[in-house]
Symmetry: C2
Subunit: 208 residues, 2 copies
């Protein structure tokens, strides 16, 4: 059976196949890159209908990356998917506390999710950073609550938690109340590869 | 805003929401668990129409896990998503060579993907194991070719690569030619969370 085995050819062909799905959406070239990487990561053109990019999101995300900001994520799969070498070129690091023992014991004690405790533990370090949430609606709610209660302001929130319990609501809440730019996908879909795809699209974009 | 913050309640409620999508599919209780975890991981009930479980797959996968088999995967995100603690209870380990330097240099030299080289490097170690492919169609093709050319036989192939170039074809090829049991999703969808979800469903199932 014949199939393409040359990595760059695979990526180029993939972007060609995705392009027609975006043709009538009136996207900027930068938005096309974000949309394409998401659809590529999910194998699902339906994402073109649910992606929502705040008007200042790409500019804010790229500026933060250029200044060497860190990235804070909810689960290890998001950290794994992010191109950490490219991020390190600017001095940035990816942080995740979901596996932290102290976070786990606090969460158990309080009867809440570990990702909520993790976000609260990051606290002021989130200021000026990029927050990338690919799994837990509770993590996204927590960051939004934190912004209500404090002056902590991430540069950008990539909020794409997945699932049937709270995910859709958390993303609506993000779009309706966030005082900072955001990138999201509405509804139940989302996930770690989507969070990583958006982050990497920005990482590949910002290089002058 | 009110939302559920208690981890077990979130999971239970999620499975309740997914159940109606599976009601008319005539699934065994074990198949329901695999279907549910996939749909949960993707936030996408459409998966119920494309999941395909070979009749011996769940039994073969659980038996292999009980005997302490290793798991070989194509990308780090799959390894990250698998419950390695649960796997280790039986003596199993997850292996991934996508970041291996020798694999990278060989792939560059040959002009093929790193995941192809990685699968070939695993070679005989794949015999009796579980292969979990969540990203690269070329990795799945390579394992199928390896089975044609040799007597290497994994116990189970979880083949759910994602994307528009080769993914669908690789999964058709799996279903049509695999001499060993498999679990797949047809079409372009798939991905690391899907591969991890299937693996974890088996890990949580086999415990007697």
């Amino acid at each position: 059976m014949h199939y393409i085995t040359e990595p760059m050819a695979i990526e180029e062909r993939s972007m060609e196949i995705i392009a027609p799905y975006l043709a009538e959406l009136n996207l900027t070239p930068e938005e096309v890159k974000v949309f394409s990487r998401i659809i590529h990561a999910a194998g699902d053109p339906e994402y073109s209908k649910i992606i929502e990019i705040h008007k200042d999101a790409i500019r804010a995300g790229c500026a933060a990356l250029e200044s060497g900001c860190d990235i804070f994520c909810d689960v290890e799969m998001v950290r794994t998917g992010i191109n950490k070498r490219r991020l390190a070129d600017n001095g940035g690091t990816v942080h995740c506390l979901i596996g932290d023992e102290k976070v786990a014991s606090t969460a158990k004690e309080l009867g809440i999710t570990r990702s909520m405790v993790a976000m609260r533990t990051f606290g002021e370090r989130l200021h000026g950073s990029i927050v990338a949430i690919g799994n837990a609606p509770t993590a996204l709610f927590e960051v939004l609550n934190l912004m209500k209660e404090t002056t902590i302001r991430p540069a950008l929130i990539i909020g794409v938690p997945v699932g049937f319990v709270g995910a859709s609501e958390s993303k609506d809440f993000l779009a309706e109340t966030s005082p900072v730019p955001y990138i999201t996908v509405r509804g139940n879909k989302g996930g770690s590869p989507i969070a990583a795809a958006v982050t990497n699209a920005l990482l590949y974009m910002h290089r002058r």
